[in-house]
Amino acid sequence: MLQDILQIIVSGASIGATYGLVGLGVVFLWLTISRINFANISSAMLGAYLFYSFYTQLNLGFFISFVLSIAVIALYGLGLRAFIYEPIRKRGGGRLEFVVATLMLCTFWLNLIIVTYGALPKPFPPVFGGSQDFISLGGIRIPTLYLNIYLVIGILMVFIYFLLNKTLIGKSFRAAAQNREAAALMGIDVKVTTSLSFILATCVVGIAGILLAPIYFVSLELGGGSIGVKGFASAVLGGLTNPYGTILGGISLGLLENFSTLYISSTYRDIISFSVLVAVLILKPSGIFNWKSKKI
């Protein structure tokens, strides 16, 4: 029984952490430009398909494929700013216009992938450990894949922490996030911080896509449907303002899902977890960890 619980915690937390990573993309944009990007999850799909092309079709090796995929995704982030966000803003469009534009963009990417790669899920190369490799720890089995997910997310979080707290551009980013106008008056180049937030927002989700691909396969499910919604949910659980809270929010959601499966019913799993999410949103709009301010 205890073994079952530990097993559930291991798998729930690792899938949940990737939901959190998807949520990070939402949070970064919300912090800096107060916009919700509904094509957030498309970056995950693009990341996975790009990696698949570089690694499997062009045989470029893991490191080069990974860096290239993320570089392309970073460019995509800049493009998102240049071709979607700025034109709408310049012509006086507001939040709603951005939401509608990105919603359409999400469908656009899905269909572009269907046309270029076909609709069938593709196997992802076992770069994070094979589907059946695992490490036994006192009776619970931790798939190597999940260990690597923890590892990459750990490294990524440390990197983000250093970027935001120890570098000049990170400090500017945080200043602009807390008060855009004041930061601009103090001589911080808000344009640069905005670009940085677009790059961060697309890249973390792109990395999430590559991490999720062994679990989700290289498939259209990475670019729509439930995982995008769960990313939003993680961001909301974290109060939409705190990157670390978002990861914790994602982990909570993953655990909630798995425990409802084990103790209540697999059929009602999504009904239960989403009821809880709506309840949290109504009762605690600032998130479950109570980070009220825009302190990051």
Binding site: D4, S11, G12, I114, G118, A119, Y216, N258, T261
Partner: protein, 372 residues
């Protein structure tokens, strides 16, 4: 995508040059875009191969067959508009497809209205003749009810499963299969110890599998689609739960084994068609198909539509192009031998009940049993 719904592009294939004699038009409606697009090619290639063979052998008493191909984008509403066009503008003598059960349920009344036979490869038991008595609707491969009955029989009688645990998805395909399994197991005096749902798109089945394990199951019955099948077997292996696994037709295709090549070894599945089947009729078909389509290997449902074209040709030769007569002939008299063995319309309007029980060896599906 959107454009194809509005401006359906019809590809007219003029096959063979008919120096004299009229052409007889048939329509083929299959998914070439959208989520079922992989099937469209198999369907078209199977049907076209048969059509070319028939024309090369002199057609229908000298008249040539011509096939108009439409894309239904795996979408019931698109299927409905292209079938209307085929029936009421092209005036075809028969329609092949759609291949999606939900689309068939939506469009079959059109065939009745136009009095034109509709031959489909969709497999849901929900439009059996006993449920939907449409005299113009025929099925070209074994339906899912037959397949699950055989699956249960094999699981109990050969694999010796006494405490089956079921994982199932949430689509009509999965739920129809589940209903049959719930009916069949008790017939052997066996109780299903646990039924757990894995929804389409779910990627973690740990909770479900642990529940099955705690219920003491001694065999896994898989009634899900391909991706979820891969998730399930991967995690079952990770958790080192060692029980025989037997799955529905989606568990017997490359779309599943490609995603879980190692974990799938040893999995049993009930299939409708297997290209390594030593049956001479199957091998002849596989050879002809490969020769015509640059070495590509056929997959279910190519053989169903190939057989369907021969069935229609037989009917046309005997009763001409009148839709009502064609439907009556297909229902009562048509009896030919095709790739799937003897083809004869039964009380469910199914031409065949052939299915195979096969086991995956890491590369191919080895046939263990062939049941008619």
């Amino acid at each position: 995508m959107k454009l194809s719904k509005v401006l359906v592009v019809a590809i007219v294939l003029l096959i063979g040059v008919a120096a004299f004699g009229a052409t007889i038009k048939v329509a083929l409606v299959a998914p070439f875009t959208g989520l079922g697009s992989i099937l469209g090619d198999y369907i078209k290639m199977g049907a076209q191969l048969a059509l070319e063979e028939i024309n090369a052998a002199g057609g229908i008493n000298g008249d040539m067959l011509e096939m108009i191909v439409y894309d239904d984008a795996a979408n019931p509403s698109t299927a409905s508009s292209v079938i209307r066009r085929a029936l009421f503008q092209d005036n075809v003598v028969a329609v092949f497809g759609p291949n999606m059960s939900s689309a068939v349920i939506g469009v079959h009344p059109l065939a009745q209205q136009a009095k034109v036979p509709m031959l489909v490869g969709a497999t849901s038991p929900s439009f059996r003749y006993s449920v939907i008595p449409n005299d113009f609707l025929f099925r070209l491969r074994a339906d899912d009810k037959v397949k699950v009955i055989q699956l249960v029989k094999y699981a109990v009688e050969v694999l010796g499963i006494e405490k089956p645990g079921i994982v199932y998805g949430s689509t009509d395909y999965c739920l129809a299969g589940l209903d049959v399994a719930k009916e069949e197991f008790p017939k052997y005096g066996i109780e299903i110890v646990a039924m757990e749902q894995i929804k389409e798109g779910d990627k973690d089945a740990t909770g479900q599998l642990l529940k099955l394990k705690n219920a003491g199951f001694d065999g896994l019955i898989g009634l899900t689609h391909e991706s979820e099948a891969a998730v399930t077997v991967n995690q079952l292996r990770q958790l080192q739960i060692d029980v025989p696994i037997i799955g529905f037709s989606a568990w017997g295709v490359p779309a599943f084994t490609d995603l879980a090549p190692e974990a799938a070894i040893g999995v049993y599945s009930v299939q409708g068609f297997n290209p390594v089947d030593p049956d001479p009729a199957v091998q002849a078909f596989v050879e002809a198909y490969k020769a015509r389509w640059d070495g590509k290997e056929p997959s279910d449902p190519a053989q169903a539509y190939y057989d369907g074209m021969y069935l229609l040709a037989d009917a046309l030769r005997n009763v001409g192009t009148d839709g009502t007569k064609l439907a009556q002939y297909l229902a009562n008299e048509a009896n030919i031998v095709g790739v799937q063995g003897e083809l004869k319309c039964d009380e469910h309007h199914n031409f065949t009940n052939v299915c195979l029980i096969s086991q995956f060896d890491g590369k191919d599906w080895q046939i263990i049993n062939k049941l008619y």
